[in-house]
């Protein structure tokens, strides 16, 4: 039996009891419910094709298909639920190298997704670019929003550039944009915002969806100058394992910025912990 929900005083997260995937987020303060399916996929890195010999590499993201492949091949995710007073978590295992903890701390008005990805297997000869994708019912009209190098939030439109007529030749890569701290989608009423803990690439490949690239491991050089494939190895000579967090906010369009601006500050300038053995030092109030 898979877990059905976790909840604190602000948010409820529902899971599909059959597949274990996240399936709905509810903002209890505003009585908002939004179906949200979230899972991990990989794009198969291009090694070049008839149109152009361009391979995916350090500089260039170029999948060989617009359809990413689900990491949980059977479409079922094994899960484990931990419910306590201060935290409720669902641990999701997508594969031997991809997992996630969906977490609600007491008092927090957002959902925390802590993902762990890697080492990406490449023994099959395919470079892989891993994404976390959110699918919702929001009517987004080909629009999504990303921050731009830590500056203003910019509207992005799929297959469109505001200052020239675009002939789109790369339906996925041509719609990817830098995400430095946040990406969001919205309709006339509601907004789904995802805050990142590091710079990533992100997009909305179809209406109501939002995705972020969390890791990649490639086997070919893209011939743009670096001269080697992006196949970084860890200390144990395997591919790198990365762990990061996405914070997910669901709110009305009018009040979403009140939440994501403050939360992004907290993420960017997070408190730092120092430890000392024993009783440690005492501090005067001053």
């Amino acid at each position: 039996t898979q877990p059905r929900e976790i909840q604190n005083e602000h948010v409820r997260v529902l899971f599909d009891p059959l597949t274990g995937h996240l399936k709905e987020i509810q903002n209890l303060d505003k009585s908002i419910s939004l179906p949200v399916f979230q899972s991990f996929y990989w794009y198969n890195a291009s090694i070049g094709n008839d149109e152009t010999p361009q391979a995916s590499g350090a500089y260039i993201f170029r999948p060989n298909s617009s359809e990413p492949i689900p990491i949980s091949g059977s479409k079922q995710v094994s899960t484990y639920l931990v419910k306590n007073r201060l935290v409720q978590e669902v641990h999701q295992n997508f594969s031997s190298w991809c997992s996630q903890v969906v977490r609600l701390h007491v008092g927090q008005p957002y959902v925390e997704l802590e993902w762990t990805v890697g080492p990406i297997p490449v023994a099959d000869g395919w470079g892989k670019e891993i994404i976390s994708r959110f699918e919702t019912t929001l009517q987004t009209d080909a629009r999504f929003y990303t921050d731009s190098n830590g500056r203003q939030i910019l509207e992005r439109r799929r297959d469109y550039r505001p200052t020239w007529n675009l002939s789109q030749t790369e339906p996925v890569a041509g719609n990817y944009y830098p995400v430095n701290s946040r990406i969001f989608i919205k309709d006339k009423k509601f907004q789904l915002t995802v805050l990142t803990d590091r710079s990533q690439g992100g997009s909305s490949i179809f209406d109501g969806s939002l995705e972020l690239m969390v890791h990649r491991r490639l086997l070919y050089d893209d011939n743009r100058g670096v001269g080697e494939p992006l196949v970084e190895l860890g200390a144990n000579k395997q591919g790198l394992v990365v762990r990061g967090r996405h914070l997910v906010l669901l709110d009305t369009v009018e009040s979403a910025a009140d939440q994501h601006r403050l939360l992004a500050q907290e993420l960017f300038m997070a408190p730092y912990t120092v430890l000392a053995p024993g009783g440690g030092p005492s501090y005067r109030r001053g």
């Binding site: 350090a58 500089y59 484990y80 639920l81 931990v82 419910k83 306590n84 007073r85 201060l86 935290v87 978590e89 641990h91 295992n93 997992s99 903890v101 701390h105 007491v106 008092g107 927090q108 762990t116 743009r224 100058g225 670096v226 001269g227 080697e228 992006l230 970084e232 394992v241 762990r243 500050q265 907290e266 300038m269 997070a270 408190p271 730092y272 912990t273 120092v274 430890l275 000392a276 053995p277 024993g278 009783g279 440690g280 030092p281 005492s282 501090y283």
Partner: protein, 175 residues
């Protein structure tokens, strides 16, 4: 003596577009990482000096760089330790603290000596796999800590033994 210039230089070097975007050669990536690690090590001394100066006592301050994968040799073995939380924001902050531990129950007190609600939760299997033999902790101590704007808070943590009147009734996590 602590020195922040080592980290300043490392961060300055890492402003190069190859470092920002990850388009550098592997041996250059390794060197960026080496410089940043050396810079942070030097800054840790600086922070420890500042804390010692503020408290008026020289302590053995510990910086656990691998807390994101639940590795911290001090909290895994110590029966009593102090958590110092620095808040770089200009407003009051409340933040969840997770520390790897091996005990079953702990008492946490805030800077005023008041008890802080805490609990011990299991570490995920993913984290166990990730750490390899880098840590023995099976659980994490979790509590909500708060800190003033641009300031520190200190929290005392002590492991409780069975029969301790402060031990809360055991809670069985729903599995």
């Amino acid at each position: 003596p602590g020195d922040s210039s080592v980290l300043r230089e490392a961060v300055a070097v890492a402003q190069h577009h190859d470092a920002v975007t990850g388009t550098e050669k592997q041996h250059v990536a390794d060197d960026y990482a080496r410089q940043l690690a050396a810079g942070w090590e030097s800054c840790q001394l600086l922070v420890a000096n500042a804390l010692a100066s503020l408290s008026g006592s020289k302590e053995n301050f510990i910086f656990c760089n691998a807390l994101n994968i639940s590795v911290c040799p001090l909290t895994e073995v110590a029966g009593r330790f102090t958590v110092i939380l620095y808040n770089p924001l200009g407003r009051h902050m409340s933040w969840p603290i997770r520390l790897p531990v091996n005990g079953a129950s702990y008492a946490v007190t805030d800077p005023q000596g008041q008890p802080v609600p805490s609990e011990v939760v299991p570490i995920s299997n993913f984290t166990h796999r990730l750490r390899g033999d880098g840590s023995s902790a099976m659980r994490e101590l979790l509590f909500q800590a708060s800190a003033p704007p641009l300031g520190f808070s200190t929290f005392m943590v002590s492991r409780m033994s069975r029969g301790d009147p402060r031990v809360p009734p055991a809670q069985t996590p729903a599995l």
